[in-house]
Symmetry: C2
């Protein structure tokens, strides 16, 4: 029943998936910007997931946060469910740096995204998948 929102599919690369969520990488080389999308049709708020889905989300979100921290050493993580424009529930996990182009403001709508080169994309996806592959429920 679930299908990924078209806009998210256009803006992101697919990294792989966990039990609950698809794992996406936003195509902006300025940030390690991962997006988790629960594979549940028609849900737009976190607390509308079932209790067991919320438990699973918590685990997957923590794993993505730990991955960003470990691989990219950001100064701060920003984690957010906004969804004012794209209603399909998706949760941003962004590594922020004091040197990044919109620090210390938030990243939404800053409008200066820089797409990955093919090489950067391949390298980044490989690093992320390599890290996540140690988790029992990650596949790609």
């Amino acid at each position: 029943m679930f299908s990924l929102n078209e806009q998210l599919g256009k803006d992101c690369f697919i990294v792989g998936e966990f039990t609950l969520c698809e794992v996406l990488l936003l195509n902006d080389v300025n940030f390690p910007w991962l997006i988790l999308v629960p594979k549940v049709e028609g849900v737009s708020e976190l607390h509308h997931l079932t209790e067991s889905q919320q438990q699973q989300f918590l685990k997957e979100s923590g794993n993505i946060a730990a991955m960003i921290e470990s691989l990219f050493k950001p100064d701060k993580l920003n984690i957010a469910a906004i969804g004012n424009k794209v209603r399909q529930l998706h949760i941003h996990h962004i590594g922020r740096f004091e040197s990044d182009p919109c620090w210390p403001e938030t990243v939404w709508g800053y409008g200066k995204g820089i797409p990955y080169t093919d090489q950067q994309r391949d390298d980044t996806l490989a690093r992320i998948r390599n890290f996540l592959s140690d988790l029992p429920d990650f596949t790609y």
Copy 2:
């Protein structure tokens, strides 16, 4: 050991507390904007809480989301841990409306907050506390 960050204390009214978190209301009448602050000293990332604290956070966050939904009927919830400026872990829970002053953009840094009048503050705090008082672990 825990003490509320000074800036948060200045910008918000204290609604009450759950087992894990203090519950704050941001002093901006444009939005029902609640902030949860885990009463844990020195933590700035959600996934650095212990597993049981994260479980408790999930429950309290869901209760705040359900309260905003029930009392204020927003078009969308925005839930976010940002913390680029204030490092003490605090998680925004904001009811958004298609009619609000920055829809559909995010609310951070929009710079047009309107403080509550005393009457509005008292009414809003009373409504929120009345709703949350049905939960076994809320006190004020």
